[in-house]
């Protein structure tokens, strides 16, 4: 089904996050070895290491790319209680192999007193905003007032959730009528502290965040990752939650005129559309594809499962699992691909049936 392309990451410890830029031709990896590495894809599809540097003095948890409109910018967050913003500059004075490219730290955000667990840029429609969340339970929002000057960030807001935060996500939509939402998840294990997923809406007119009334139903277990799908042509947002199972939640804004009648009621309708128990244990990561049609989830069972919806019904379309033994085919194709030493191709299945399950 899949053709695989291997990159030897050469991190000295486990990789925590792999993030792609907007076009998918640059990749950033971060690891417990405190390094961040940037990989570039050349026109033949091979990935080459273009930069690697020690970014923090602790495990780097997450890395994320800003929209290319703001240049080549990444943000990282770490166990060392800081989040950093890095920009790649072309310095014509230094003519090294890298073509004079260099990553410089533009800002170091040190407001957190605890490990910063997640960092995300807000959708570009509302400007250049960076949000971080930390184990102290505070969601911090920074803004760069001058998009051309990435070294000055003002600490705009602070939203305290009183729960140890583990992850955050923004909605992204081309539709300017959609109110941007930010959701945070907490890995607090105590069920009595209520829902572990909190959703805030950002009002551009008042420039403030307000918690939306309804809580996400039944999410009382520790949440490890949450992700909003791209809202394309849909009237609602889809939020994937990694907790003890995989859960997909639909957040649907109720049109204004309805809200006005029942004044004071919530402006959103939140319903669970799917719950997958297939991992049988804790789920750590969820990731949507570009269109928000396929969800990849990974859990303690060591498997990555892909989910796709057929009308309203979601089902597993594929499972990937780590396999200790390197198959013979891999070795054979390794020998065949000696020309490009950095790339190794291997086929993981017969090509006659690219998708064993008909999607429709």
């Amino acid at each position: 089904m899949f053709e695989a392309h291997t990159i030897n990451a050469q991190h000295k410890d486990l990789i925590h996050d792999v993030a792609y830029n907007y076009y998918g031709n640059r990749m950033a990896t971060c690891s417990s070895d405190q390094f961040v590495k940037i990989w570039d894809q050349d026109e033949h599809g091979n990935w080459n290491l273009s930069a690697a540097w020690k970014a923090h003095s602790g495990s780097v948890w997450k890395v994320t790319w800003a929209h290319p409109e703001y240049g080549q910018v990444i943000a990282t967050c770490s166990f060392d209680r800081t989040a950093s913003i890095w920009e790649e500059i072309i310095d014509t004075n230094i003519l090294k192999d890298s073509g004079g490219r260099q990553w410089v730290r533009r800002a170091n955000l040190v407001d957190s007193r605890t490990s910063v667990t997640d960092v995300k840029f807000a959708p570009k429609t509302i400007g250049l905003f960076l949000t971080t969340c930390a184990s102290d339970g505070i969601l911090r929002i920074y803004e760069a007032p001058d998009i051309m000057n990435l070294s000055s960030w003002t600490h705009q807001h602070e939203v305290s959730s009183k729960l140890s935060c583990s992850c955050l996500t923004w909605t992204s939509s081309f539709n300017r009528l959609h109110v941007p939402l930010v959701a945070i998840g907490s890995d607090d294990n105590n069920a009595s502290t209520g829902s572990k997923v909190l959703i805030y809406e950002y009002s551009e007119a008042f420039r403030k965040f307000s918690k939306i009334g309804d809580t996400v139903p039944y999410c009382f277990d520790a949440v490890h990752d949450i992700t909003f799908a791209t809202t394309h042509g849909r009237s609602y947002h889809l939020l994937a939650i990694a907790t003890k199972n995989v859960r997909i939640v639909k957040v649907k804004p109720i049109p204004d005129n309805v809200v006005n009648i029942q004044s004071g009621a919530s402006k959103f309708e939140i319903t669970t559309v799917a719950t997958f128990e297939d991992h049988y244990c804790t789920v750590w990561r969820v990731s949507w594809n570009v269109l928000g049609t396929v969800l990849a989830s990974s859990g303690d069972d060591g498997c990555v499962r892909l989910w796709k919806s057929d009308k309203e019904y979601w089902k597993c379309v594929s499972v990937l699992k780590g396999d200790g033994s390197i198959p013979d085919t891999a070795m054979a194709s390794d020998a065949a691909a000696t020309l490009s030493t950095k790339a190794r191709y291997l086929k993981l299945g017969p090509i006659s049936h690219p998708n064993q399950v008909p999607y429709h």
């Binding site: 991190h11 410890d13 792609y20 081309f174 990561r285 198959p327």
Partner: protein
């Protein structure tokens, strides 16, 4: 060996592991159901193949009294197709049927071939195998129940150990359940009415199938219990719980009193008694709490209240119940006996089992286990795996574990330094460069099809158009095939042949299916001539015979010119000159091409003889049914009967005994297909060919809806539904008039959805494919996000193309047709295309603007601008800023220009700045920049008065940035010191200037202290002094000229 299954039983502390054995077993699989008639002669002829002649075998006996014997050697008797059969039976088994079978088989075969299991052990079969000549396949016919078969299979497992070829196994079902026998097609029970020679018939019509053999390891988890039998083999099913208990009770009862239990009916009754006991007194309720079930290493937690867990390998359980019924769950694959998978089913209660037996209830499906797609990374195997989506359809997987995250901070373990990242992408054959033409041309047709309206049954014109469209699609496919073949011929490297062949095979299959769909659904033919259409289809795709016939005719007509050759042909006979002569004629007849066959027959050297003239006559006189003719259907049927009887009569008369080929043809014409089925199979490589050939001469007026029945009949002859490949099963679905299944099958083709998308679209246009039969109209209206199947497929296909580097424009065309959802997808995907070159950028912007996606266009421009800025190409960046109308970015750029000017005294891109025009209105800073350039132009052109006015305006309007004021004032210096009679600045203007100067100096002093270097300060002061001086002079002069003005 990987552990696939673990069932851990908590109470007794035992674990059951199931491992798959490497070797698969062979078992004879029965295929044929036809040929029921007792043709004794034929059977006897075939029986020769199963008998071991006495002169071929040497056996020894240890003593006269002992009935045991040993096989010494076995030699080949010398005729082809010799496949000796060993019959195993227990004379005590099954209501003394065993003894009956033994004695009767000893009559038919060499007695040493018939082994009594009461005397011999099945290991004698291994002995037989080891002495048999290497090229001979031994068949073993086991009579008994499933237990006996498993016993023999277990023994034969040693064949693998000893390196002897495994014999194939057939079953005479004597047992109670006979599940394996049912699955393999040997019938559900033996009764004495079946003649034994019919088993030989069955063997000769069978093919070899594989059966998974599973090893069950039972390990004791507690330390105190005694280790029991640790390893067993499983073929059919095994279970834990109530049905196992019933079986155990039954087994123990049978052990104690074997005498009464010889009848199948009695056994079943006993089962019922024990089963009923479990209903009343359940021993195994809430079984799920007493065991842990792992499938593929994954623990299953969501088991409802069951009394039994059944693990099944074959699709038959407890006398023919199909536990794994495929119809109600879509995402489970069908159960196969050789797929390397086991199926796990939970049963609620003993009563539930009884309901299953009569088909009243459904079991609870737990899961289907198999090996999972592996990522070859040792670290990932140890730690776990995580994955992120990349843009497009690629998935990135990497070793990941969160559990150690929170506590660990310092890297310690060295084992991780080989961590790898895997980028997975779907392998799509469609993206091969060879198929570019197909993609591009079909997209053109697709777009043009939107001019056609939805099908209207009365509109003949419309349906003609659809037919034309369908043909065009097919011609595109054909063209692509030809192109690839040419390409392949041109570069005879040999390395890429595989690739070419893959593409051709794919395209060929697509066209094959498309053609049939066209014939059956799009081409509006009347009901009664279904066969004509299908025959056309077969003729088109299997043109070998026709081609060869033309070749024969051509060779002969060429021979005409040189008369000697022609004489040669006539003397020798065409049949000898061309070895494939008869095959060709038969092929033509099978495709109903009688005219050409007649011409060939007339060339035969004996064409004047009686049989030939007769065949010629019946060829000529075959009635042909035509809807537009004036013969009614009953009338035609009468004619047809007459014609066939005529042919059949001559056949019985023995006219054709001399010519076997002619005999076969006439046999076929007379409608006696069953008797010449083997012959027919020889000529037809696929079931649909055989079907069409048979129908041509048995039911010439077959209706469309009857084709399904015939298709199933012929699939049985060709190995059953299990042996169907992708193409076959799609064809079957089409014959069944089950379009939705056919479309589902089409999606499985490795063409990335090409066929499914285009075909579904065409069928929807023609109104043949109902939008969605599952949803009623009302439901569709309620569901606002509802899309019809063809739109969903188009979306999928368009998205696939858009994710490709160079096919995104084609993908756009497809998404254009999908309304809002398509537009939303375009928006996302278009902005994510990486512009590798300027021309590509322009293409993206143009595409976005055409579709009114202004956001996308703006965003692309901004990104380009930032990119240029990073490379320090200010002018280019400014151009992009204009395009995107981004004021913040434009002012930033204008600042950059001005600062550069302050430092260097020149502008980089004068041309652009001089011709800003209305663009300068985007932001204040840019307006200033434009105006300033205007000033410079005036100054250079020596229009000093205008220049002075312009400068004054710039300063007075206060739009200049602070850092630029000094530059502006310095620019005023030469103008102030102009020696003209009239000063260029009047009193007001001069006052303005001096006011600015003062403000500037005060600001400068304010921030002087630390920020600016002393050298810079001195320069600043020097300049301000000069300007102040010039201002004073100018003021003086201006006041002199304009004394009336008060300051």
């Amino acid at each position: 060996m990987e552990t696939l299954w673990i069932i851990r039983i908590l109470k007794t502390f035992a674990a059951v592991y199931v491992k798959k054995n490497v070797s698969t077993l062979k078992a004879v699989f029965l295929n044929v159901v036809g040929a029921k008639g007792e043709d004794i002669l034929a059977v006897n002829l075939k029986q020769i193949n199963f008998i071991i002649p006495p002169y071929c075998v040497t056996t020894t006996k240890s003593s006269r009294l002992n009935r045991k014997f040993k096989v010494k050697c076995l030699s080949h008797p010398g005729w082809d197709g010799w496949t000796p059969v060993i019959v195993l039976a227990n004379r005590r088994a099954g209501n003394s049927d065993g003894a009956y079978l033994l004695s009767h088989f000893r009559r038919l075969l060499n007695p040493c071939q018939v082994l009594d299991l009461a005397i011999h052990s099945p290991s004698l079969v291994i002995k037989w195998c080891s002495v048999a000549p290497p090229d001979v396949t031994l068949y073993v016919l086991v009579s008994g129940g499933d237990g006996t078969v498993a016993w023999v299979l277990n023994t034969l497992n040693e064949c693998n150990v000893k390196g002897v070829a495994t014999p194939a196994i057939g079953i005479i079902p004597l047992g109670t359940g006979n599940d394996l026998s049912r699955v393999l097609g040997w019938g559900k029970a033996y009764n004495r009415g079946i003649t034994l020679s019919s088993y030989f018939e069955k063997i000769s019509h069978s093919s070899i199938a594989n059966l998974d053999r599973w090893r069950i390891d039972i390990k004791s988890l507690s330390n105190i219990s005694i280790p029991r039998a640790s390893s067993l083999f499983c073929y059919n099913y095994f279970s834990i719980g109530v049905d196992a208990k019933v079986a155990l009770d039954f087994h123990q009862t049978r052990q104690t009193s074997p005498l009464y239990l010889s009848s199948r009916l009695y056994n079943k009754l006993l089962y019922t008694i024990f089963g009923t006991r479990q209903v009343v007194v359940p021993d195994y309720s809430y079984l799920q709490n007493r065991l842990e079930l792992y499938i593929d290493g994954v623990k299953i937690t969501s088991i409802p209240d069951v009394e039994s867990i059944v693990v099944v390998n074959i699709p038959s359980w407890a006398a023919g119940v199909k536990l794994w019924n495929q119809t109600n769950s879509v995402d489970m694959s069908p159960q196969e006996i050789d797929d390397g998978k086991l199926e796990v089913v939970g049963l609620y209660s003993s009563f539930h089992i009884a309901q299953l037996q009569i088909g009243m209830s459904e079991p609870h499906y737990i899961g289907q286990g198999s090996e999972i797609k592996g990522i070859p990374d040792p670290i990932a195997a140890a730690t776990g795996l995580s994955a992120t989506w990349t843009s497009g359809d690629r998935l990135t997987a990497f070793a990941f574990s969160q559990s150690q995250n929170k506590s660990k901070n310092i890297p310690v373990s060295q084992s991780y330094d080989k961590s790898q990242i895997f980028i997975l992408k779907p392998d799509i054959l469609l993206f091969d460069t060879l198929l570019r033409k197909l993609i591009n041309e079909s997209s053109g047709l697709f777009v043009s099809s939107f001019s056609l309206k939805k099908y209207d049954a009365l509109d003949n014109y419309q349906s003609n158009h659809l037919l034309k469209l369908s043909r065009k699609y097919r011609s595109v496919l054909r063209e692509s095939i030809e192109n690839i073949q040419e390409e392949n011929a041109r570069c005879q490297e040999g390395a890429d042949t595989q690739r070419y062949n893959n593409c051709i095979a794919l395209l060929y299959n697509l066209e094959f299916i498309w053609h049939l769909t066209e014939v059956l659904y799009i081409d509006a033919t009347p009901e009664d001539v279904a066969l004509t259409a299908v025959t056309q289809w077969i003729r088109f795709h299997f043109p070998e015979s026709e081609r060869y016939a033309r070749k024969i005719l051509q060779t002969i007509s060429e021979g005409d010119s040189s008369s000697e050759n022609r004489v040669d042909f006539l003397n020798e006979g065409v049949e000898n000159a061309f070895p494939a002569y008869w095959d060709t004629i038969t092929g033509l007849v099978l495709q109903g091409n009688l005219d050409l066959a007649r011409i060939l027959l007339q060339l035969h050297s004996q064409s004047d003889s009686d049989p030939f003239t007769f065949v010629d006559k019946i060829f000529r006189t075959m009635p042909v049914f035509s809807v537009y003719g004036n013969v009614s259907l009953p009338e035609f049927n009468l004619q047809w009967k007459l014609w066939q009887t005529n042919a059949a009569r001559r056949l019985l008369g023995g006219t054709f005994d001399k010519y076997p080929h002619l005999k076969f043809i006439v046999q076929l014409l007379s409608g006696d297909v069953n008797s010449c089925l083997d012959e027919l199979k020889k000529y037809c490589s696929s079931w649909y060919q055989a079907m069409v050939a048979a129908l041509l001469y048995t039911e010439p007026t077959v209706k469309f809806y009857e084709l399904s029945y015939h298709a199933h009949r012929f699939i049985q002859h060709y190995g059953g539904t299990a042996n169907l490949n992708f193409c076959d099963s799609t064809v079957l679905a089409l014959f069944e008039l089950d379009l939705s299944t056919a479309v589902k099958k089409c999606q499985l083709a490795s063409d990335g959805g090409w066929l499914a998308t285009h075909l579904t679209h065409l069928l929807t246009l023609s109104g043949k494919l109902e939008p969605d039969s599952n949803n009623s109209e009302e439901e569709q209206k309620q569901d606002e996000d509802y899309q019809s199947l063809d739109i969903r497929l188009i979306l999928e296909y368009g998205t696939l193309l858009m994710c490709h580097r160079s096919l995104w424009q084609v993908g756009l065309c497809y998404l254009d047709q999908c309304k809002e959802e398509g537009r939303a997808r375009q928006q996302i995907l278009l902005s994510q295309i990486f512009p590798t070159s300027d021309s590509k950028t322009m293409k993206i912007i143009q595409a976005a603007l055409q579709r009114g996606l202004l956001d996308v266009a703006t965003s692309v421009c901004k990104v380009e601008g930032v990119k240029c800025l990073r490379r320090n190409q200010l002018g280019k960046a400014l151009e992009w800023a204009f395009r995107s109308q981004d004021s913040a970015f434009a002012s930033h750029l204008a600042d950059q220009f001005l600062q550069h000017y302050v430092k260097k005294g020149v502008f980089d891109s004068n041309d652009l700045l001089d011709n800003l025009g209305s663009c300068m209105l985007i932001c204040d800073r840019l307006t200033f920049l434009g105006k300033y350039c205007e000033f410079r132009r005036l100054y250079i052109a020596n229009k000093l008065k205008e220049a002075a006015n312009c400068l004054n305006d710039l300063i007075a309007s206060r739009i200049a940035p602070k850092y630029f004021w000094l530059t502006l004032l310095t620019d005023a210096l030469p103008l102030l010191e102009n020696d003209d009679e009239v000063p260029l600045f009047d009193v007001h203007q001069t006052a303005n200037l001096s006011f600015c100067l003062n403000e500037l100096s005060s600001i400068n002093e304010g921030c002087m202290s630390s920020l600016v270097s002393p050298a810079h300060t001195s320069v600043f002061e020097k300049k301000t002094t000069l300007i102040r001086l010039a201002l004073c002079k100018n003021m003086a002069r201006a006041i002199c000229l304009q004394p009336t003005v008060s300051i």
